[in-house]
């Protein structure tokens, strides 16, 4: 079978990832806001006996990279030795900004790569009254031009068929200025560039990180000797191309109406208004958190009761013995501790998906931008911070779009403060236990506290950024140049796919960790070597003469747990966490949730299940009934609950985030500084809260 590599290239937010998904059948994350793709993604599909390897590259406005994500594009397209160097490029264009897309197409063709041109979002363009003369455009571009609407799948079959099209001879639209001809020839000799335009591109790059050190040094010397300002070269090229494009495309696109701009502009007058924009955004956040509590309640009860019933039924069904205990007290209870949160996670992602699909997320980024600058963050930090509301890992990665290293580092360091979806289960369960279910100004108080926790995450991120700004003395100011996408009706299928993917990813990803941790916890909690563990029955009988049978069973279970391996570990760390209002059992939860925050609730469910004899209690009933052995008060009272909420709001309890920060910063030093700062801050906040409220 013939194999062929195809690269998808285009300006940010033209629908590359949606076309990638349509062609490959994959479900790569796509969103109606720029910067969703910050690295190359690959997928394969077969069409008419040809196996295509499709490479989805990050969005770029041109071939001169200014940030790491744009550099990925340049490296793949400029270097034939690159393992992802394509045999053909599909340039995807935005019908409303055709010139800019064609500029990118021209650069790619002049690099020597065959390319076809796709105009996406054509339905929207036609509705807005844009008429594109495709035949004329094909003549100008010397290639096949296709029209698609990737969201609905329109034109995708034609695109698949056109991948075999061989573009015609291409005449360069840009002539290298005479004054640089000699320098370009020298660059060609130094780097072995394939043609003059590739040498020109190398000469006009800001960085030459991808070149061998000796070549980069020679180029630096050449630029210095010839007083070449790389930025001036880029401007010259862009201006020359736009002049050419103005002439060539004058009759290609006819804009017959301004209806589209009017609809989006009218909405934007309200949604990004300096006052009402924020009011609407906060009202929307309030709605989301009220909905999470109100809508998910019945589902949560049903799942909680369902797992309690399943544990009791399984216990009855299986013969008595250690395996029965592992299945009912360990695995079923532990897994129940994550499944119970499916409704809340799904509701959260429905709202996030709707915001992304409709184009509103770009407006949120725009609104955030104004608030970031005083704190040492660039406007470009808004995308990572907003993404952090779902998960810190892709959010940290999306900081690659920030060209300044210090701003990028600050963004990476503060993004984990944003309230990710893994914190939601802990907030939901603790708020449910310590905040009364009443109304405050007509709103659900528990929902308001949840909203407050999200605001707290933003405040912590901005405050930490300000501190880092003072420490790192950053004075560089980069600007967010954000192209607002038009508002679109969300495609229900895309929203449902996204919610399904996120929710299943959450449950299955966390589920595997929870399954493993539940088994380990159960074993550690069921075995021990101390005398009080092995002789628990005698000791309890001796210390409590006349105790009734049910109380005796409970005391024996509790005694065994306390002196098991798990209990010994918990009691060893108890002195550190006792001032925060926690007992050793909660300490076990803190340690296990270092793997992932969402593990906390299922850990507590398993630990409390091991210490009791009643299999029919739900997770929330077990947690609500638990007594702190040190204070003799409910383990989850107002003071300890607030302390726990603050601890999880600030602590870096996520192994995957630590790993990604290490990778993205390429520094153990900054990874440890972040870990120590977040954990220390969390400890202090939890300590103060408990000591003041107890």
């Amino acid at each position: 079978m013939i194999e062929m590599k195809i690269a998808l290239v285009g300006n940010p937010n033209v629908g590359k990832s949606t076309i990638f998904n349509q062609l490959t059948g994959l479900r790569q994350k796509a969103g109606n806001y720029p910067g969703v793709t910050v690295e190359r993604k690959t997928g394969t599909f077969t069409h008419q006996q040809v196996k295509y390897q499709l490479i989805d590259l990050p969005g770029a406005y041109g071939i001169h990279p200014s940030s790491l994500d744009e550099e990925v594009v340049y490296r793949v397209l400029a270097d034939p030795q690159n393992p992802n160097y394509p045999e053909k490029v599909v340039v995807i264009g935005d019908p409303f900004n055709l010139k800019r897309s064609v500029l990118l197409y021209q650069q790619i063709r002049e690099m020597g790569l065959p390319a076809i041109f796709v105009i996406n979002m054509i339905d929207e363009a036609e509705r807005a009254g844009l008429v594109i003369d495709v035949q004329q455009l094909e003549k100008v571009l010397a290639t096949k031009v296709l029209l698609t609407d990737a969201r609905s799948g329109k034109g995708i079959d034609e695109l698949r068929a056109a991948l075999q099209h061989q573009p015609g001879e291409y005449a360069a639209a840009f002539d290298i200025p005479e004054e640089y001809a000699a320098s370009v020839m020298q660059t060609k000799q130094i780097t072995g560039a394939r043609n003059n335009y590739n040498a020109w591109l190398t000469l006009s790059q800001k960085h030459h990180r991808y070149l061998p050190a000796d070549q980069a040094d020679e180029l630096a010397t050449l630029r210095k000797d010839q007083s070449i300002n790389y930025h001036r070269l880029q401007i010259q090229e862009t201006l020359a191309r736009y002049t050419w494009l103005d002439q060539q495309l004058a009759t290609t696109v006819k804009d017959t109406t301004k209806k589209r701009e009017n609809a989006t502009a009218r909405l934007d007058k309200l949604l990004i208004h300096p006052f009402w924009g924020y009011v609407i955004f906060f009202a929307l956040l309030l709605l989301i958190f009220q909905a999470i509590y109100t809508w998910s309640g019945p589902f949560m009860d049903a799942i909680d009761n369902g797992f309690a019933w399943l544990a009791a039924a399984t216990s009855e069904l299986l013969p008595a013995g250690p395996f029965n205990g592992l299945i009912t007290d360990g695995i079923i209870t532990g897994i129940g501790g994550i499944v119970i949160f499916i409704p809340q996670i799904a509701i959260l992602f429905i709202f996030i998906s709707l915001m992304e699909e409709s184009g509103y997320m770009s407006r949120v980024v725009y609104l955030m931008d104004r608030w970031l600058k005083p704190f040492g963050l660039s406007g470009k930090s808004a995308v990572p911070l907003m993404s952090g509301a779902a998960c810190a890992i892709p959010a940290v990665m999306s900081a690659r779009t920030i060209e300044n290293d210090k701003e990028r580092l600050i963004t990476i360091l503060v993004t984990p403060f944003m309230t990710c979806s893994a914190r939601l289960p802990i907030y939901i369960i603790i708020i449910g236990l310590v905040i009364p279910q009443t109304k405050f100004m007509g709103l659900d108080l528990q929902g308001l506290v949840l909203f407050g926790m999200y605001v707290l995450g933003v405040v912590a991120a901005l405050g930490s950024a300000w501190v880092l700004k003072q420490v790192m003395k950053t004075s560089y100011k980069s600007y967010l140049i954000l192209e607002m996408p038009t508002y679109k009706y969300p495609v229900v299928r895309n929203v449902l796919y996204n919610v399904w993917d996120k929710t299943m990813g959450f449950v299955l990803g966390a589920g595997k960790i929870i399954l493993a941790i539940s088994i380990i916890l159960w074993v550690l909690g069921s075995f021990g070597i101390s005398e009080r563990f092995t002789n628990a029955e005698e000791i309890v009988r001796m210390e409590n003469p006349g105790i009734d049978e049910e109380a005796f069973e409970n005391r024996v279970q509790s005694e065994r747990l306390e002196y098991s391996f798990l209990g010994s570990m918990g009691r060893a760390i108890e002195p550190v966490i006792e001032p925060l209002g926690y007992d050793w059992k909660m300490g076990i939860g803190l340690i296990s949730s270092f793997a992932a925050r969402e593990v906390f609730v299922s850990t507590m469910a398993t630990v409390y299940s091991l210490g009791g004899t009643d299999d029919e209690l739900t997770i929330r009933e077990r947690m609500g009934a638990e007594i702190n052995q040190n204070t003799r008060r409910p383990a989850y009272n107002f003071a300890s609950g607030i302390s726990l909420l603050l601890f999880y709001a600030f602590a870096m309890q996520c192994m995957s985030t630590i790993a990604i920060v290490r990778k993205e910063t390429n520094s153990w030093k900054w990874t440890f500084i972040q870990l120590a700062f977040m954990t220390g801050f969390a400890y202090l906040a939890a300590l103060l809260a408990y000591q003041m409220l107890k």
Binding site: A422, I513, K663
Partner: protein
């Protein structure tokens, strides 16, 4: 072998497998394979362009 011994053997095996899974997952996270298996939208991660923190 009686039923209880078999049950303990199964539990012991599961314990070792669970421990090995967590260790392997942690090592993978730091060594560079899949950085994230939490369904966070980064399952395609292949390569990271490192930040040059030595210059900061």
């Amino acid at each position: 072998m009686d039923a209880i011994t078999i049950q303990y053997l199964i539990i012991g095996t599961l314990f070792v497998v669970a421990l090995a899974y967590l260790i392997r997952r942690t090592r993978r996270s730091f060594k560079g394979g899949k950085s994230c298996s939490k369904g966070c939208g980064c399952a395609f991660t292949e390569k990271t362009e490192p930040l040059n923190t030595s210059r900061l």
